[in-house]
């Protein structure tokens, strides 16, 4: 899940700045997502009338990815918030939606974009991804991803370097276990880099801040989360869209 970084930002900034910046950042993200969807859709359209089914398929896949992104964002956000708060007196449901409304949207869009980029990239590189493409392994991958987030939120490490190194190892293990493709690795790295950059910019502009930043403005394990999120979403996106409902 890219852009999960927002989770760790405590909401201490003023609302005016937030809305302003949010509009720009969210706008960029959304526009990129739209552009990508449009481009891919146009590409697909070029295949002709026979592929009209495929564009619908693409839409559906994008929608599924978006929903997955939103749900994961909400849940993992909650995980991160819990780290600072030990007890939940009231307003349980408030905390569930405590993140700014645009975080899940951005996460969903980013998930859709990255998830659709993966099969697209596979197609262009001419290396169809064949490794572990069952839904069971996708579920396993998602569970490991949630586990990595869980670990980043809940485990008490001696120092941050140790935490980051552990998470990096876990992310690499995730990639090796479930992906093992060059394109997946590259795209994951790109996602991690870009998302971390965006996070840095956002924090630099004061939209959010971390409780204890140790890597410029953000937490040092953030790229690992992004990397594993990218791989996970790619794994989901590579599933044959037409058979999201398998039958036996």
């Amino acid at each position: 899940m890219p852009r999960l970084e927002e989770h760790c930002w405590s909401c201490s900034c003023s609302h005016s700045v937030k809305t302003q910046e949010l509009s720009s950042a969210g706008w960029i993200v959304c526009k990129t997502g739209e552009m990508m969807s449009i481009i891919t859709a146009v590409l697909r359209h070029a295949y002709g009338s026979l592929h009209s089914l495929q564009s619908a398929n693409l839409m559906r896949r994008g929608l599924v990815l978006f929903i997955v992104g939103v749900v994961l964002a909400l849940v993992l956000n909650l995980l991160q918030i819990q780290r600072n708060v030990t007890l939940f007196p009231e307003e349980v449901l408030d905390t569930f939606f405590s993140s700014a409304w645009w975080i899940p949207l951005c996460c969903g869009t980013a998930a859709a974009v990255v998830g659709l980029l993966y099969p697209c990239l596979d197609h262009h590189l001419g290396e169809p991804h064949k490794f572990k493409r069952e839904w069971a392994s996708v579920m396993r991958c998602t569970a490991v991803f949630v586990g990595i987030n869980h670990a980043s939120a809940k485990l008490d490490f001696a120092n941050n370097v140790q935490l980051s190194l552990t998470l990096a190892a876990l992310s690499l293990g995730l990639w090796w276990t479930f992906d093992r493709s060059r394109s997946g690795f590259g795209l994951g790295l790109t996602t991690a880099f870009l998302a971390t950059l965006i996070a840095q910019l956002l924090v630099y502009n004061g939209i959010y801040q971390y409780t204890s930043p140790d890597f410029l403005y953000v937490r040092s394990w953030l790229p690992c989360i992004f990397f594993s999120g990218g791989v996970t979403v790619g794994n989901i996106g590579r599933q044959p869209g037409s058979t999201f409902v398998f039958r036996n």
């Binding site: 030990t86 939940f88 449901l93 579920m139 485990l155």
Partner: protein, 1199 residues
Amino acid sequence: MTVRERLRQNISAAFYRHGLLCASYPVPIILFTSASILTCCYPLLKLPLPGTGPVEFTTGVRDYSVPSHESQGNLSERPDWYRGPPVAYIQQVLVKAAVSPWDNSLVPVDVFRSPLGRVFSLLEEIRNHIYTDRSLEALCLQVTDLLPGLRRMQAVLPEHGCLLVSPGNYWQNRRDLFDADPDLLKTVHQHEPKGLHTSATLKDLLFGVPGKQTGVSLYSKKRVVTYTITIALSSYDARFVASLRARLKLLHPSANCTLREDHMVHVHFKEEIGIAELIPLVTTYIILFAYIYFSTRKIDMVKSKWGLALAAVVTVLSSLLMSVGLCTLFGLTPTLNGGEIFPYLVVVIGLENVLVLTKSVVSTPVDLEVKLRIAQGLSNESWSIMKNMATELCIILIGYFTFVPAIQEFCLFAVVGLVSDFFLQMFFFTTVLSIDIRRMELADLNRRLPAEAGMPPPKPGPLRPRETPPPPRPSPHTITLQAPAFRNLRLPKRLRVVYFLARTRLAQRIIMVGTVIWIGILVYTDPAGLRTFLAAQVSEQSPLGEAGLPPHLGVAPVFPGGDPTSTLSVLPAPEPTPLPENQSQGHRAARPGVAPVSSPQITWGPEDEELWRRLSFRHWPSLFSYYNITLAKRYISILPVIPVTLHLSPQEAIDTRHPQDTHHAPPPSIKTSDLQTDLTLYKVAALGLFAGVVLVLLLFCLYRVLCPRNYGQNGVPHGRRRRGDLPCDEYGYSPPISEISPLLLRGHSMDIECLASDGMLLASCCLAGSACEAESLLGADFREPGGVAMGGPDVDIFPIRRRTNPARPALFGDQPDLTPLIDTNFGSLPPSQTLSSSGFDFGELVEKAYQEHEPSPTLAFPPSPPASQQRRRSLGDQPVLPPELPPQSNGDWDSSVWAMELRGNLIATGRSSGKLEIYQCDLICCSYFLVSISLMKMEIVAARLNGSLDFFTVEINKPLGLLQYRGPPGRGSLPPSPCYSSEDVISCQLTRSVQCAHQKPITVLKAAAGRVVTGSQDHTVRVYRLEDSCCLFTLQGHSGGITAIYIDQTMVLASGGQDGAICVWDVLTGSRVSHVYGHRGDVTSLVCTTSCIISSGLDDLICIWDRSTGIKLYSIQQEVGCGASLGVISESLLVTGGQGCVSFWDLNYGDLLQTVYLGQSSEGQGVRQLLVLDNAAIVCDFGSELSLVYVPSVLEKLD
């Protein structure tokens, strides 16, 4: 390398032996495994049950000392948590105050204004109390800021100082603010949350007693105000507390108060899991279940899929339990939250091994013994299992050396879990698998007998040994439903939703569950309140009942009403076993109702001893959590309460009145207003009830509107579907009557064996060895004169004349009239004696046969009398040419046609006697015509039983001007077929012959894209180039003879063998792309689309595979004997044959789109052959008839 190889061999051998062992003694091994599981889980009994309720422990006050941190020996009565000092000592001062005597000049506010006002002096007293040199400031629990989220409570709760809460906090502990407050109740209630609340409210916190008992209400009938002053002490000084108690008692004596003061209660709180914390957990569990679901769904081809899935889950779960149990046994108490790491453990351990084992075992040859199958399957996968296990152990070992306690603990658990999982897989799951497979084979045996008994008697006449419909093989692993045609009936969406609702009774259940949850929440929120409320209700509504109560049930002492001197009547706790609280409470609450004008009585009962028990169990945690102090896994000690009784004179009450107090009108009706607080409850209840009723009504209406009438009684009328009826699903829903009407083409006397078409023409031949050609486009059938077959046995292919079909003129009226078509009459001459001859003779047949067999005299024949009697021969290049039709060749007429191809107007047939048309050679099965670049040129490839291949070239010499093209071109993929008029001279030439193409008989031959692919019994597939008949590749990979091959223009090559395996090959490189096992028994046909492979097998199962990954998407169970009949109409439309019907499937989803019944009387007539024509029509055999189904509607839907 050698070490590795040896290791591998050893492991494999060990697994083999182990598999033999497991399969030989299943019952003892399962017993042993169960015993070991139970043994390992035994330590779990000692673990405390999970729960979040607080636990209590009571000690005496006198000999109390702070418990030490280390556990003291075996003080068995002491719980584990009772170590170290508590978070706080809670000292409550319970104040009961009343204005007495009550007179009628007082207003309701007086009930609580002056009693509450006395709290300030009490507070002053407590704060200033000093024993020797210790004051409260030194002893009390100092608190700092409130949590940042609690700004609104800042004014009320103390900050930076002693944690001392009392009702005075509402007014910042300042008397002047209290006196200036015009509306005390408003002040108190302004902090109350609206609606249902789950945690302690501020009123509870400050008053320290449940809200109902405070008596701070305008309508209180008891007129006694109860509140507490709660002091949290950080350290316990017995003398200070005792002196405070003595002082307060001295100041405000509670005569005859016999509250016990010798016990202090320690309350331990467990870690509280909020809903917010549960959400990620629940998500993890959902993902986990999805993982298990998707994993176990891959288990296939076993007797009981559910049983094996259950076994797999049991394996994983019990391995986890075992690991926890073992860890507990060795003193590793799980500090981590077990529920939290559990999903990750399952994911780490995984179900993969189980699946791999199953797959490996079921893909072993079926004919082996069960023991050997298990052993082989195990040993095949032994290396990978061991490798995976070693890898996982290594990873976990690395994790162990991170030296992070949490990770180390997780790793420890994971190691034990992995080992125990491996143990269980090897013993438990393998044994279960062996039992399952044995059951499956038994079921096979049982089913085979009746199936064979029920077979129709073999048909007379020459049967082709290979392509005869296989005996209805039992399909043992019919995991799919028995009536597959109705399984995925495509219903309208709304109906599906309604059916779903109706089937699961979802709405009713949701309503029920909702009600239960709602009641549960109510009870859970304030159990005491609800109970007291109910009790009050009961007693209030039955004043008679109160009077009528037997005296021993009612509380005997009646208070002397109106006697001012004895207002301090004390209930001396007469019963040694106190009544249940609610009961006594109820009676006591009822008492003022009996004497409403009596003065308030202050009574002390045993229920006052531990009034805090009535509070929500979240009372203390929430109080402390406001100051960011968690009570989770810690405990507090509650000291005995200090009772304080306050009596205020009416004058005092009047003096403390606020000027506005008298403005409050007296309550209009005491009885109803007493229930004011409960009115919200009623409102919610009424609303809920109303919503429920509306929902039920709505659903009922929906049900009435949308459900068919016969819902619920569908079992009887539809239990047994008669032939010819339209299919119904289990709800009696029938799909719309198909607008597709099959067209029957009659003409054969026996079952149809071969079908061929080029899109325009259709050729068929039956068991009698006769062929029939039909104009498929027109729907007009060409009759073959059966008499010829009997009269002239040497004739194989009959001249076929088109006749217009008068029966259906309207249906095909838009088609061009093709009557001027030139009939092609060609026959073949069997020069059986000329072995090496390759002469190709297209002749004409005697016309008179028509006359004999046409049923209708209205038939119009194109006049071709000169041609009819004249037979022309094609001129072969071979010198030996049959100049004349040989008179008779006995024994040839009964050789049936094994293969037939049609291209253009040419029909090529291969006969069982080994002839390609007229050739006398041991040709076996297949011939193929191909349109080469030149339209005039055709090539024939013939494969023979002895493994040789022959390539022929057919040349047609024809006057250029006479070339005609027939009909509209198909779909653009084929060039329009040229017509060969009877004047053409057709020559056939054997160009090349590959003598030893295969070592064993060639079983299948296909050609496309300039390649000829042959499959043989020798387990290999060979690819030849058409131009020079050069063998390009020999593809090896099957472990059985090849039975099916698919190749198309895009060079996709797939092959299926007798081993049930399907291989996909790269024709350019000759490498194997994928290799899957899908069928039990031969693969009978294979079709590929751009995205998937469709295969059918002798097991009558049609499997759809993903072409790029080789993953099975789904499978369709066919009816017996119809397995091989399938065709792909478009990229996403699959058509399969069934008993008397053809079904259309959506290939992407596996949904049944439509079923077309071919005839009304289709008993036992299965569709065994199915051919898809280019113009969106399918032709299938239907007994001795041909059925043409034109499917425009389906295509429209798809496009």
